[in-house]
Amino acid sequence: VSDEPCEDVLREIEDLVRQGTDPLSVQTVAVHLQTCYPCDRVEFERRLRIILSVKCSRDPVPGRLLSRVRTMLEETPPEPPRTV
């Protein structure tokens, strides 16, 4: 079991996420995750959410949809008569 206490490693993970890549921390985190299963599970689900959000949100928009919406905006009359 690695000597790093979980909370320190989890903090490093957060820092990594914010800052990008420090090779030393990347190594520390990877070693910890191999031996500390509770952290590994949490980190796995975090990564899974990122993968999910990337993979499920890039669908090519049909060109006609943009023109349909624009046309609709052009043709929609202003707000119904207001009660002033």
Partner: protein, 205 residues
């Protein structure tokens, strides 16, 4: 034209300009969202168009400076629930079996150094497969997972959007995530990206 009428007309023009500037950039995101909800391109396009129409008509009631994305998503989700869901009549098949917590992590960990390193298995799956897995999650659960994990809304925001208690959001999310994990695991296994579960091997031998 009276001065008052002229004023109203220029207010309308300003509002239209503001709507185009702020709401149109959300179109691609909303279209993806609509696809996840309706699961077919024709309905998704109609849903997006209807959402923009309702948003534009109600734009006078939107407070500038508050979260426009959340506001548009609320309209999209409600329009879907009130119109398309009725039309689609999706059979509400619920996976009643209890899927254990950490379902996917537990299985992937067996095939590598750590579950987090094995997240790359899912990353390597084609987008279409992952989308199909999400779309196979029953609707109420799918909406919760989509809003929280794909769109990144907070539980509170989701509760407000769907007009349900926050506890319901959390339990749907919890169950929905595990359903999704099981579907992802099945797809990864079908593609030969992971080894079979040991107990399944034992059965087939």
């Amino acid at each position: 034209m009276s001065e008052e009428a002229q004023q109203l007309q220029s207010d309308d023009a300003a509002m239209k300009e503001r709507f185009e500037r702020d709401a149109m950039p959300l179109l691609a995101q909303l279209y993806s969202a609509a696809l996840r909800l309706t699961r077919n391109p024709t309905d998704a396009e109609d849903l997006v168009q209807e959402t923009y129409l309702r948003a534009y008509r109600g734009f006078g009631g939107f407070t500038e400076g508050t979260n426009l994305k959340a506001w548009m998503y609320r309209i999209l989700t409600n329009t879907f629930i009130n119109t398309y869901r009725k039309k689609q009549r999706e059979p509400q098949t619920v996976l009643e079996e209890e899927i254990p917590e950490w379902y996917l992590a537990d299985r992937l960990r067996d095939s590598g150094d750590s579950a987090s390193a094995e997240a790359q298995v899912i990353e390597r799956m084609p987008d279409e497969e992952v989308k199909a897995a999400l779309e196979a999650v029953p609707e109420n659960f799918r909406i919760a997972v989509w809003l929280a994990d794909v769109e990144g809304f907070a539980y509170r925001e989701i509760a407000d959007m769907l007009e349900i208690p926050i506890g319901t959001v959390m339990s749907r999310l919890h169950r929905g995530r595990r359903m999704l994990q099981k579907l992802l695991w099945q797809k990864a296994r079908d593609r030969g990206l992971v080894r079979e579960e040991p107990e399944q091997r034992a059965v087939s031998e």
